[in-house]
Every structure is written in structure tokens, then in C-alpha cells.
Amino acid sequence: MFAAGTAAGQGVTGTVYELADAATKKVPLPGANVFWAGTSLGTTTDAEGKFAVPRSAQSNKLVVSFVGYRNDTLRMSAVSEVEFVLRTAQSLDEVVIQANSTTIDRLSPIQTEVITSRSLAKAACCNLSESFETNASVSVSYSDAVTGAKQLQMLGLNGTYIKTNVEDIPSIRGLATTFGLNFVPGTWIQSIDVGKGAGSVVNGYESMTGQINVELQKPDSREKLYANAYVNNFGRAEINLNLAHKLNDKWSAGLLTHASTLRNRVDNNGDGFLDLPLYTQFNGVQRWKYQSEKLMTQFGVKVLHEDRTGGQVNFDPEQRTKPGPNGSPLYGFGAKINRLELFTKTAKLFPDQPYKGLGLVLNASVHDQQSYFGFTPYDGRQQTLYGNLIYQSIIGNTNHSYKTGVSYMLDDYNERYRDTTMLRTESVPGAFFEYTYNNLDKFILVAGSRVDFHNLYGSQFTPRLHLKYQLDDNTALRLSAGRGFRVANPLAEYFGNLVSSRTVVFREKIQPEVSWNYGASLTRDFDLAGWPGTLVLDYYRTNFQNQLIADVEHPGFLYFYNLQDRAFANSFQAEVNLTPVERLEFKLAYRLFDVKQTMGEPFGESVLLPRMMVNRDRVLFNVGYALPYDKWKFDFTTQWNGKRRIPNLDPGYDHTSYLDMPTDIAPAFFNLNAQVTRTFVQWDVYVGGENLGNYRQANPIIGASDPFGQRFDAGVVWAPVVGRTIYAGVRYKIKR
């Protein structure tokens, strides 16, 4: 209810039908009256039986009437899309409500793609980092060849510029940025919202390129029990168990658990290093939910433990300071992570005024991480407190609504890298106001701003603006603009580059990153010779006022400094979805990035260079076919990833200037994934493959033969390190 969207603030849209052919077929009913009981606020249905009516402050009972038919009255809750089926005066009173389930959130003023649990089931494996395989806007890459850490990418920029929330609680940020994507198991996920461009001010000031919100399986879900087991050809094994238990009418309890491990040492490329780190993860959430007409509250606890070991094949963490078999020590990487999180969410509801609400989110977390790269230790501890109080209501009628509130964020960082200790405490109280004007969903304007008082970096003003204009019934245009602000955590964000012999140098005091994002998108539904389809075109530009530059142009050094001049990211994307026959879906998407930043501070230069590791072009093709009731499901995805700039690693090269620097380019490659699922009444069985073309980066680790030498670098990874992955799994569900 308090998500970034404006579901509760919008008017009501829907369709009115009559039953024809002896009550077997629904036919749209034009000219029916739709009005709020006891008011003059209303409309009539159009030729297709469709209507749109703003919400009223006086009434929540929506009445549909037509001569010769029984009136139908529906008490409207937060639902904003309804279907009325009118019956002739003799027949029974009945109303059917259908929720909209498309991949693009058509009502949201912010360009938002929804990844449902059905499309998540296409990518059987395993956690949030693997949930974007069939999504064109978000891509995922490995940060290096040793740690297994993964990074999202959207609009040409790293995942750190996306605000990633789990159920509206800021989640993958700070020190959790490094491995956080692995902390949300796939079977826990109910749906994912991917918002592109500037986000709503309600969720804070940190979103720069977009916001991702993950909804988990609910305690009052209809699936009482959901168990999943997975295994792949490298020996990775996973089990997940979700339980949902209704204690009584109002209380329910939910448990989400996960355990996974890889114990098998895999070195298929023969470089003496593990292609995949050995790891074990235990992860769980227990929560309770109370829901009555007037109050919804939930509270719970999340715990996580993960232990990773990577590096040379025979490396043993117990013996890490001792010499190896041939006298010299073995290079190893290790990370132990423990997390504890407590949360509560409470919403006061007003059953007679569904547009009104008061919500409070509170969260406290501790993230503790101990890691090492060879002999270099890196430990970090982050303690966070977060609170967000939101009130929403309308001004007169639901054409004008607003959300306002206050928030507080406390982050206490304690990091130690080699023998340097870095302490930082951020305390940020803030307030926000967001106004929405909605003219029957034809035109929506959302204007929000927030002010935050940062104890270290002063007051931050964050304005955001969103417009949605329905050009015609099938075409929507969206525009957005907004400012973003965040404090970077260089070591956690460039963790993969630490798996190298590079010396980390902070050239100056790192200032917060500040950006402006502007975007436009066009969504059009069309009909191609009877084949329904959707076309989405979008363009976004992110301009940085300050950016953290992580400079790996110099072999042997990782320089961090502030942006001197310019940094920007342009992103253009075109996506076509087509459904030639029922249950057969095609998706074809192309996206183009133009991402540059000014570099050269170490030599007193200022040169605009293409951002490293960003591929300019990417094409995604997905085809899915399902039999009725999903008895069989087939899914195939291929991605073509274009060329990208990588650090120049020629051992004879002496870096003296950023001008006329020789440029190394990594080649383009294909990635193929496929999956088949067979559904039984309570069971699902699936088999699939990732990287079926078996494409591997030739030498993912530079200087692998001498890991304590000058040239060692595992941070230059642009393609899969591990080859073809074949997996199989089962899901077992008991529904209420």
C-alpha cells in the first residue's frame, strides 16, 4: 500500500459487462451509469464498456446501473481496476474482480516493469542476482573471477546507483552492496518491481538510475508450504522451505528459510584458481502479521550467515599463513558474513476512506563481514537504523492526492583495510511531500520533493517530477526528472578489484555522489495482423555533478578520486513483446549505452573516457511457451553482449598519460539459457541450462601463475568464468 506507486491515490477504472448467450459469455455494456453512491460524481461507460472515475471523499460505494439490469454496488478498497458483470433483473447478484497482471505496470506514472513469480520461475536458479535473466532493463555481471560477487547494471551504471529495497525497506546498500544480491533467495520472492529513472521521494534520496523493490512471500499467502530443492552440475545444492500459517482470522505467521552450499572444487579453465568460490549460506526470515479492517501490522527478524572461500584450488583457509606444497604460500580469498535485521511495518487503514492511510516502517540491522585477499585483510561492520512515517490522503477528491512524512536514517560504518581504520557515522533526518494530480488516469502528474539534513554533508534538497500522459487508449508517454544523492563505500563497491596486487590509493577525501536523471518512455499496445503486442521505447540520461571515480588504468594501482569535470550515462532501449498465439510469447529488446567519465587526476589531466566494463550494445531475445494450466513450460533466452573497454594490461606498457592511451577491447559474446518445467498438481519439476553456448573468458585472471606478483589481477572479468551449467530442481506446494 505504501509502495512507490500511487495505487491508492488513483481513481477507479474498469469495465462493465452484461451476460449474453444464456449467461455463458460476457459482452461489454456501453452507456451504463457509474457513480459514487450519494454523490453526483460519476461517468458513463464507453463503446467498449470501459470507464474511469476519480475517487470521492464522500463515498466509497461505487454503483453501476442500467435499465433492465440489477444495480450493482461495490465497496471499493484499494483496488483500482474492477470488472462489473451486470445481470438481468432476475438473476443473482455477483461481482467479479480481476487484478491486472502484465509485465509493465500500466497505471504507474513511473516507468515500472513487474517481474511476477511466474516469470521468476523461468529462471529457476537461485537468488535475486539471477532473477533478471529475461529482463531487458537490468543486467547482471560478475565483479571478478574469484569472489562470486555480482553487480546489477541499469541505464549503463552500476547497481549501486539503483535503490534496492526489500518490501520498501532499504536493503542492498552500504557494505551489503558486495554480496547483497545473493542474500535474497529466489523462492522467497513474490514479485519484483523495476522502476526506471528517478524514483518517488517517499523512498529516500539515494535512487539515481532507478529503484527495485522486492516483495517476499507473505505470511497470509495461500501457499501454506513451499519447498524447493535444486542441484547443478558443479555440485551447488540448495534447499528452500517457506511456511505460511494462519493462526486465526487476524494473525498469521510466515517462515522463509534457505540453505545452500558448493563444496566441489571446480577449475575448468585450468588456471589453478577455483572458477566458483566454495560457499555455504544459511538464511531465514520469521515474521508475524496482523490484519484487521483498520490496522495492518507486521514484524519479524532476518538472519544470515555466509562463508566463502576462493582462490587457488588447493588453498585451505585453516592453513592460510603457512607455505603451500612447493614452499610458497597459496593465494586465498575468504569472506565470512553475518547479518541480523529486525523490522516492523504498521499501517493504519481507513475502511471508509480507502485513499487515506498512515504507515510506519522501522528497521534495525547489523552487517558484519570479515574478509581477506591473500594476506590483505578487509573487515567491515555496519549498523543501521531506519524509520519512515508516511501519511497519504486526498485534497477534495482523488484527482488530487498527496503523500507526506518524515524519515530517519542512521548508518554507522567501521571498516579496516590492511592497517587503515575508517570510521563514519551518518545521521540523516528528513521530510518529504509528494503531490499527485490524476485526471482519470489520462494525465498524471507527480511532483515530490524532500529535504534531508545530513550530519556530514549538509542539507540535501531532492526534487523529483513524473508525468504520464495517455496519448490514446493504447499509447502512454512518461517523463521523469530528479536529483539523486548518495555516499559511496569505495571498498565494498569495488570489492572485486581488491582481488589483485593493486595498491589502493585515495587521492583525496571522497565527496558524496550527486546526479540528475532525465527520462522519457513510450509504451504502445498494438495488434500485428491479429497478434497482440507491446512496444516500449525509452531514453534516459544521468548527469553527475560528482561521481566516485575508480581508476584502474594504471597497472598496480586502484585510485579513488572525485569527478573533476563531467560524467554522464545515456541509455536508449527498444523492446517488443509479441503474442502470436495464446501462451506463446516473444520478446526482443535492444539497448544502447553511451557512458563516459572524466579521468586523469593522478597525472593532473582531465580526459573524457568511455566507462570501463560497460558494453555499448546488448540484444536480448526470449521465447516462452506454456501449455494450458502451465502443464509444460518452455523458455529460451539468448543475449548478445557487445564489445567493451577493459584495462590495458600489456606488461610492457608504461602508463604516462590518459591522452592517446592504447585501448584494450573485450570481444562480444552470446549467452544462451533454456528451461523446461513440468507442472503436476502439487509438484513442479524443472531442468535447465545457463550459458549453454559454453562461452568462457579465456584468461579471467591476469598473472594467475604468480598471485603474489606485481601483475596479479582477478578484477578484469567481462564474460562468464565458468562454462555451461545444467541444473535440475523440484518445487512442492501445498495450497490452502
Partner: protein
Amino acid sequence: MKTTLFSILFAFTLSFGFAQTGDKEVKIKTSAICEMCKERLERNLGLSKGVKYANLDLTDKVMTIKYNPKKTNVASIKETIVNTGYDADEAVADQKAHDKLPDCCQKTAAPHSDM
């Protein structure tokens, strides 16, 4: 690799995608009550052996089922409905299955819509 996958996909499309001729249709009166019942019955029948199509009309509680007579028969279709917890024509719902249904789907539930 790619061509293999496509041909497998295509083969499945051919063998499952198009309704075979010789299918039979049967109408069975059930004790279903609401949308949840409809979803449950259609899914359980749809996923059972030999059933091609299952649709429940909530106005008269009659279920229309298309099936392949070589793979299943009316008796086993009725058995599936009974084991899901609903009456099927003259056959009475399995008591154990019926009692496991949510309150709104049990026979004692007052007629209602899903709001």
C-alpha cells in the same frame, strides 16, 4: 545447440499445442461456491491425465471438461473432483478433502463473491 533447442521446442509445440481430434466433452454439476473453488477445480482437472480443457461456470456450478477418451474417462474425472473436495453429479465430495478447504469454499458457506 541452438538449433537442437529450437527443434525440441518446436516438436513439443506440435505434439501438445494443437488439440487432437477425437476429444470428448462432458458436463458435470459440482458443489463449487466461489472464484477460489473455480481456480482450484480447473487447475486440478487441467493438470490431470488426459484432460485438455476444464471450465467451471459459477452461475450454474457446471464444469465443462474436454478430454482424450484414450487416456481418461468420466469416472476418473469425477474422482478428481471428489478428491478435490467437491460433489460431482451424484458422487459426494470426499469428506476429508472437503474439510481441508478454506471456510469460504465449504458447502456450509453462504453464497458470496470474492471481495
